[in-house]
């Protein structure tokens, strides 16, 4: 009665090439992020708007040259938006839609469920970096040459820290809760975590707290690197510590659905 020819589904199991699996997973998630309107708003349009707006409009006092002082903070914001907020929300909803279970049922190794996501996040960060740098350059940005390599290092460490925190949040709670918490934390860190205002400009104890938050460490570190040409090892250390702690915790709390 069957209309399929014999042997159509004859078993021929086997694992695909690991590199191809990982790259395909990362590419799929990368493309999905750039196709998602809310994600593009969060990761590209808001940082771009802030960069252009605060450079051109003299609404808040910023030391000049304005663009040199604004760009490092916008880069920190972009990394945090992608690796933490965007990634946590996507992970929360992917779990809801059964993606992790679906992928966990394939030959894809378990560690690559997270590694693939991180690779996709890194891809988006690169796009942000290129786009924001080009626009900033158009606005007259002159980063300190000695700070470029440290800045890349900081961005990698920052992506790791925020990425691990994003997996920790997005991998443990219900999608709606993740959405609310991720946005709230984003706003808190922007306002009081050393992104919008320098850690030094925050009042009293908040200043000390913000300095060891990943947001404060990344923004201050990028500022020191790109404005002063310094290599802020302290900030790199703080970010890597966050990455290690959150990553370890997330590996225990990540749930597939």
């Amino acid at each position: 009665m069957t209309s399929f020819s014999p042997g159509t589904f004859a078993p021929a199991p086997g694992r695909g090439r690991l590199s191809r699996m990982l790259i395909t997973q990362a590419r799929t998630e990368f493309v999905l992020t750039l196709r998602n309107g809310e994600q593009v708003l969060l990761t590209l349009l808001i940082p771009l708007g802030i960069l252009i707006g605060f450079t051109l409009l003299n609404v808040v006092p910023v030391p000049s040259p304005r663009v040199d002082n604004i760009t490092p903070r916008v880069l920190a914001l972009a990394v945090m938006s992608t690796a933490f907020t965007g990634q946590a929300i996507a992970l929360g909803f992917d779990r809801r839609y059964g993606v992790l279970k679906r992928l966990a049922a394939t030959a894809l190794p378990r560690w690559s469920l997270v590694a693939g996501r991180m690779l996709a996040v890194l891809g988006v960060v690169v796009v942000q970096l290129v786009l924001l740098s080009v626009v900033a350059a158009g606005l007259g940005w002159h980063p300190h040459p000695a700070g470029l390599v440290p800045a890349v290092l900081l961005i990698l460490a920052g992506t790791a820290a925020f990425g691990a925190l994003g997996v920790l949040l997005g991998g443990a709670l219900r999608a709606e809760v993740v959405l609310a918490v991720a946005n709230m934390v984003w706003l808190l860190l922007v306002v009081a975590g050393g992104i919008a205002l320098s850690v030094h400009a925050l009042p009293g104890p908040l200043s000390a707290i913000a300095a060891v938050l990943p947001s404060g460490a990344l923004a201050e570190g990028l500022h020191m690197a790109l404005v002063q040409g310094a290599t802020p090892w302290g900030a790199v250390g703080i970010l890597l510590s966050w990455a290690a702690c959150a990553g370890l915790l997330a590996s225990r709390t990540l749930r597939l659905s």
């Binding site: 209309s3 589904f9 199991p13 799929t28 999905l32 059964g98 679906r102 049922a105």
Partner: protein, 313 residues
């Protein structure tokens, strides 16, 4: 000299499986065995433990007690070796909300060494027209078909399908039946869950009915529906006939009832004498018995007898 061949390794072997969630024991000492290249249907009311059983076999849940082997391997300890050989269709599918159907299937295909052609599989499952539509905008039936495609694309030896035809229209359901038949003929072992008796009856070599996490009956559909004596005679006539006289006329052990208005049912050992009694009674009532037929119990009758008729939450 007698040579005893070793029994062929079961595709799926579950012995004494127990799995609880909090204080609820979802699976309570379950045994089942899927011989190679056969189809087993797991039937049961909502909450009977079907999905839990399947998820333990897939390695998503750790059993509290008991032994589970798929192709002779432990689904959790030997997960890496086992997963490439197993196809899984989770309940409710599984895909990124924004992913296009073709992208999702391609991603799953890349994970296999010798996958089926993605374009062909989409075409066979009627998904070519929606290949570029995001998953969350597919209909329930289309999402189910994509999930089935993902389960099959890696050319597995064993396939677990959790409610594969839920939400499908009759055409799609027939297609899935067709595919399951072909899978078995091609040597693939299939374990699927369903609410549809017709589906279990049409496809399964073996039906296992479970309730409250235990097996309440198992066997081939024919074994389950015929116990040699219990048979049924059904006919249609004017609603509301008085069955008193008929019940007295029938031999002991036969009962007559009107399960729905105008639909009559005689249960018991139905022999030619019983048929004659019924038609004679109809003649006396001045009614014509329409659609008179003698049948075995249906799988649904068996199921309802075993699991009760009350609604489950």
């Amino acid at each position: 000299m007698n040579v005893t061949l070793p029994a062929p390794l079961a595709a799926v072997e579950v012995r004494g499986l127990i799995r609880s969630f909090g204080t609820v024991r979802a699976v309570d000492g379950l045994d089942l065995r899927v011989p190679p290249a056969t189809v087993l249907a797991l039937l049961g009311p909502n909450g009977a433990g079907k999905t839990t059983t399947v998820e333990v076999c897939e390695g998503f849940l750790r059993p509290d007690a008991g032994v589970v082997r798929v192709l002779g391997l432990d689904p959790i300890a030997d997960s890496a070796a086992l997963r490439p050989r197993v196809g899984v269709m989770p309940q409710g599918g599984g895909a990124y909300p924004g992913v296009r159907a073709a992208e999702m299937l391609s991603l799953v295909a890349v994970c296999a060494a010798r996958p089926l052609a993605v374009g062909w599989l989409l075409d066979v499952l009627g998904l070519t027209g929606v290949a570029r539509v995001p998953y969350k905008r597919l209909s329930g039936g289309q999402q189910q078909r994509l999930a089935l495609a993902c389960a099959l694309v890696g050319r597995p030896e064993v396939v677990f399908l959790d409610e594969p035809t839920a939400g499908m229209d009759p055409q799609a359901r027939r297609l899935v039946w067709d595919i399951i038949s072909r899978l078995r003929a091609d040597g693939v072992s299939v374990l699927f869950t369903t609410h549809l008796m017709e589906e279990a009856e049409a496809l399964a070599d073996q039906v296992v009915i479970i309730d409250h996490g235990r097996v309440v009956a198992q066997g081939s559909p024919a074994e389950l529906t015929s116990d040699g004596t219990q048979r049924q005679l059904r006919f249609g006539a004017r609603a509301g006939l008085d069955l008193g006289a008929l019940c007295t006329a029938l031999p002991a052990g036969c009962r007559a009832s009107e399960p729905r208005p105008g639909g009559y049912l005689v249960e018991g050992l139905i022999d030619p004498q019983v048929v004659a009694t019924v038609t004679a009674w109809c003649a006396r009532q001045g009614v014509f018995a329409e659609d008179l037929r003698v049948s075995r119990r249906s799988l649904e009758d068996v199921f309802l007898e075993l699991t009760g008729r009350e609604l489950r939450p």
